[in-house]
């Protein structure tokens, strides 16, 4: 069953290839706009690039999870699987994972390329990638929670970021601090452990929360 579900999700994303490439292109566009705004100062850029990467990841996750359930809601698929006897939580978990795979994962793969552009050392680049790998699934699932909350609304473009951004803050703080610690040569394990703890806490509980939110949003 897992295979079929995964296959269905993959098909959904692959049928519309732009949905994979657009987040990636968006990411590169935002990244390359920053030097234009701040100026081509190498030292400054090198210092703030981790922050830029994280801001861009925030934008990407917010945009890609904004109308996450809209299509499924409009064509009735959502109601069908909420009332079906298969494990709804598991389907939601797979949906979160595949959303991450097709929006954040391509970006993470291309982080080494970004590091070359901005002259970031191997060690820093590695820590950026590891914080992204741990942190971005949490961001994606919180963003999906926001889109589930606003499912009943016709227009919710700016609302979801306003609701959701405060919830991002712990992840952002610990990621930024881990990156900062590596580049200043101090221990960074603790921040990584806390990020992992947040991931382990959020990912398994989120499907249950999502199921409850969706049932509230639909039964109006």
């Amino acid at each position: 069953m897992i295979k079929t579900l995964f296959y269905k999700e993959f098909q959904n994303y692959f049928r519309n290839l732009s949905s994979i490439f657009l987040p990636l292109i968006f990411f590169f566009l935002i990244i390359s706009i920053f030097p234009l705004l701040i100026g081509p100062d190498k030292v400054l850029l090198n210092k703030i690039v981790p922050g830029i990467v994280w801001i861009t990841i925030i934008f990407t996750t917010l945009l890609s999870s904004n109308n996450f359930f809209k299509d499924d809601y409009n064509n009735g698929y959502l109601e069908t699987f909420l009332t079906s006897d298969s494990s709804v939580e598991f389907i939601l978990f797979l949906k979160i994972i595949s959303c991450w795979l097709f929006t954040c994962f391509p970006i993470i793969i291309f982080i080494p390329l970004v590091s070359i552009f901005f002259n970031i050392s191997m060690k820093d680049s590695f820590i950026i990638i590891s914080t992204l790998v741990i942190g971005s699934p949490v961001l994606i699932s919180i963003g999906i929670f926001g889109s589930a909350l606003t499912l009943g609304l016709a227009k919710n473009s700016i609302l979801v970021p306003i609701i959701i951004l405060p919830f991002f803050i712990p992840i952002l703080i610990f990621s930024a601090s881990a990156i900062e610690s590596v580049s200043s040569g101090t221990p960074y394990e603790m921040q990584i452990y806390i990020l992992l703890a947040l991931l382990v806490f959020v990912l398994p509980t989120m499907p249950y929360l999502l199921k409850y939110t969706l049932s509230l949003s639909i039964n109006n």
Partner: protein, 242 residues
């Protein structure tokens, strides 16, 4: 008298009309007394001089900003689980009051920060987490106001409030850990409060007065909430027409 009777919207609306007026006047006079006590009677601080006196507004507002959030989440939880109508209204009407308290805490803190730290704003842990709390409140109000079906809106915002309640300690811990410049808590140190009793008493008094104010405003707002929800119902028309 049982709970279901108090929870009845009609009962609440008709019985608390005079109570909120009474509480309002009471709060006004008690607040005048508290301001006199805090601004003129309490001794001045040996380190900060007179500028510390803004604490008598700042600290109760900051405490209330968190307390109101907890009340809001608690009422939201009850309204989600037991579908108590009055709790739905209480939960959502807490949000603007809490946002105001957060704003008061932030503004008074900035006014205090200028002579003490030399700048209105620093990105310090407590200021930042208070600011994030304000954003949480604003998000809740925005989410509520964008639904046209208000019962549905309350359900969704209650859920957001409860999730936010889980998140507040995490945010607070992370921000605290991120940067700390604010002076440590000086009232809740149980072994030996680092504040003299003659300064502490007016503070606790102001805290009680702020709580009274909160209850008075909440009752008024809940009455308005009941009115806007029930204005087409029969009992409301009968009540208003005499």
């Amino acid at each position: 008298m049982n709970i279901s009777k108090i929870a009845n919207l009609k009962f609440f609306f008709t019985k608390t009309k005079n109570l909120s007026k009474f509480l309002g006047y009471l709060t006004f006079f008690l607040m005048l007394g508290g301001i006199y006590w805090g601004l003129f009677v309490a001794p001045s601080d040996y380190l900060q001089g007179e500028s510390y006196r803004i604490m008598y507004l700042h600290v109760p507002a900051a405490w209330l900003s968190l307390q109101v959030y907890m009340i809001m989440a608690f009422a939201g939880f009850i309204s989600l689980v037991w579908k108590v109508k009055i709790m739905e209204i209480i939960s959502i009407q807490c949000a603007p009051i809490g946002a105001y308290f957060t704003l008061i805490a932030l503004v008074t803190g900035m006014v205090w920060g200028k002579p003490t730290w030399g700048t209105y704003w620093v990105w310090d842990a407590r200021l930042t987490s208070e600011l994030i709390l304000l954003f949480l409140y604003i998000g809740i109000i925005a989410l509520y106001s964008s639904f046209s079906d208000k019962r549905q809106a309350v359900k969704i915002t209650s859920l957001l409030t409860i999730v936010g309640l889980v998140n507040i300690p995490i945010i607070h811990f992370s921000v605290e850990w991120w940067n700390t410049l604010h002076q440590g808590p000086s009232v809740t140190k149980f072994d030996q409060p680092s504040m003299h009793i003659s300064m502490l008493l007016p503070l606790l008094y102001m805290f009680v007065v702020f709580n009274l104010y909160f209850v008075a405003v909440l009752i008024k707002r809940v009455q308005l909430g009941i009115y806007s929800r029930e204005k087409k119902s029969k009992w409301m028309e009968e009540y208003l027409n005499g």
